[in-house]
């Protein structure tokens, strides 16, 4: 199974670098998006800290807050784009059927497609981290290992969500809007760019119902010392439950939708 996933990832990586300008832009893009946020925050700061922001989060380091949010948001996008959009690209390129006719489990196809996406995101985040440390003075004092332990079940849950998503892409044969809207909504309502406590009551209900919110919150609490919504241990339990439920639901829905597409004969259409 691992060899299959690596073969898929290797193919995706070769294809990624067949468009070199796109590859370079992927590296520059996050710094480009973060720079205005840095200067905007600076405009609201007094002596390097933002008091209003600190009242909500317990930390005046708005830039590190946004930076960590953008990292976790990037992983959400990596899973969504990795599973959903790449499936659509294969449909458009006419190669989905030739892949689907091989004796490879569908699970390997879906997960394998995200490997390249995750590797590129990790490299990207490392580069942005380095640039942020050099240019904007980013620093984090907490345990990176504990933050990763929180992030992993969140990613597991997102994979489950991604499986359902892949099924929807097969069904409606459209990905761009679906991926854009979903990763934007999940990212923003989880507090990618702001503390969710600033949201109005109607939105904060949705935000608190998203397990990803607790991942963002716990990672920031661990690394930046912000005030968490839940203690990190409780957040980890929520995220593990989220992972188990979403993986099961996601896989069941994907297999059901794929069966429906095979009955309808729409697999090769785009």
């Amino acid at each position: 199974m691992l060899r299959l996933m690596l073969a898929i990832a290797r193919k995706d990586l070769i294809l990624f670098f067949r468009y070199p300008i796109n590859a370079v832009f992927r590296v520059v893009e996050p710094i480009m998006w973060l720079t205005p946020a840095f200067f905007l925050g600076r405009g609201f700061s007094v002596d390097g800290t933002a008091p209003g922001f600190a009242a909500y989060t317990g930390s005046g380091d708005f830039f590190s807050f946004i930076l960590l949010g953008s990292f976790l948001g990037a992983y959400i996008s990596a899973v969504f784009w990795g599973i959903g959009y790449s499936l659509k690209m294969e449909m458009d390129a006419g190669v989905l059927e030739s892949n689907w006719m091989t004796p490879v489990p569908r699970f390997a196809f879906l997960v394998g497609r995200t490997v390249t996406s995750l590797v590129i995101t990790t490299l990207n985040c490392t580069g942005v981290l380095l640039a942020s440390w050099l240019l904007f003075g980013f620093s984090a004092s907490g345990s990176v290992g504990r933050a990763i332990l929180i992030t992993l079940p969140m990613l597991g849950g997102l994979y489950g969500f991604g499986f359902t998503f892949a099924g929807l892409v097969l069904l409606i044969r459209e990905a761009n809007t679906l991926v854009d809207v979903s990763s934007f909504l999940v990212g923003e309502l989880s507090g990618r760019g702001f503390p969710v406590t600033v949201l109005p009551r109607s939105l904060i209900v949705i935000s608190l119902a998203l397990p990803t919110t607790y991942a963002f919150d716990a990672v920031r609490a661990i690394l930046l010392g912000t005030e968490p919504l839940l203690p990190p241990g409780a957040a980890a339990l929520v995220l593990v439950a989220f992972m188990v439920v979403m993986l099961a639901l996601g896989w069941l829905s994907f297999t059901a939708i794929e069966r429906l597409c095979r009955a309808r004969g729409t697999l090769g259409l785009h």
Partner: protein
Amino acid sequence: MPASVEIESLRKVFQRRAKRGLLSRRGNGTRTLVAVDGISFSVTAGEVFGLLGPNGAGKTTTIKMLCTLLTPTSGTARVAGHDVVKEATKVRAALGTVMTGERSVYWKLTGRENLAYFAALYRIPSRQARPRIAELLERMELTARANELVEKYSSGMKQRLALARALLAAPPILLLDEPTVGLDPQAARALRELIGSLRHEGRTVLLTTHYMAEADALCDRVAIIDRGRIIALDSPASLKQSLKAKEAIRMEVQGSPNGLEDALRALTTVESVSAKQSDNGSGTCELQVITLGSRGCIGPMIEAVRRTGHEVLHFQVVQPTLEDVFISLTGKSLRE
């Protein structure tokens, strides 16, 4: 000989929802399309078997059900002894499939990269994959261009690469869906020779085509399929033999085919007629007539054509082909 492919009462029905306009509620209903209507046949090991029929006859639908891309509505299909629904993974492992069209490989990868990728999907260890890929590239005459992006290949090269992909895991059974469609005559001939060579390796080949000459040249047996049903199944020679008591006549006639078919069908010695406008731009039409074998019908036929205001330019009595068998059975041409 054991059967490599066994199909029993296989049927595929599609429910198609009628398109609706953005604001219109008209056409709110479903349409039922019977693509494959209870077909049964078996292909023995080592046989080259052809499904011959016009576009929309149900050939591709049958292939898609065999290669597990499509679920049958009813009936059973077994490939290498495995049920296509219950043992889909085993079926996929036993098959090499080339679907119609040239977009079954990655255009942004080289030919070699494509084969390396698919070899990994078939779980061929890297040490075995390298010589296998080299051998297939050589056989498909692609070695010199193996490291070029597929987007720079001609249609024939892309189709040969797709065949190499299907052969990677040395599958005992090959499904080829319209393998030569869209190729120039030279590339089509080269691909037919390659398919012919597979017979000598003892592989079972099930191919679909609407080119009668292709089916005639390549297949041990042919099933003629029309509107989802098999209307004849035998060796090409036997199928043509069934027309022995009849004669096939080709005519080229000045003008459009209007009224010609009815005029000829009115003759008692004429069994079936197919007429179509010539595609050579000369303003003539071509008629294919199956008669009941009496040469006494030639005069009345020419007379019948003249009565419709047409002039016979060319008249020829020929050996029946598979196309004549199809016309005899359905009363229409394969290309209609």
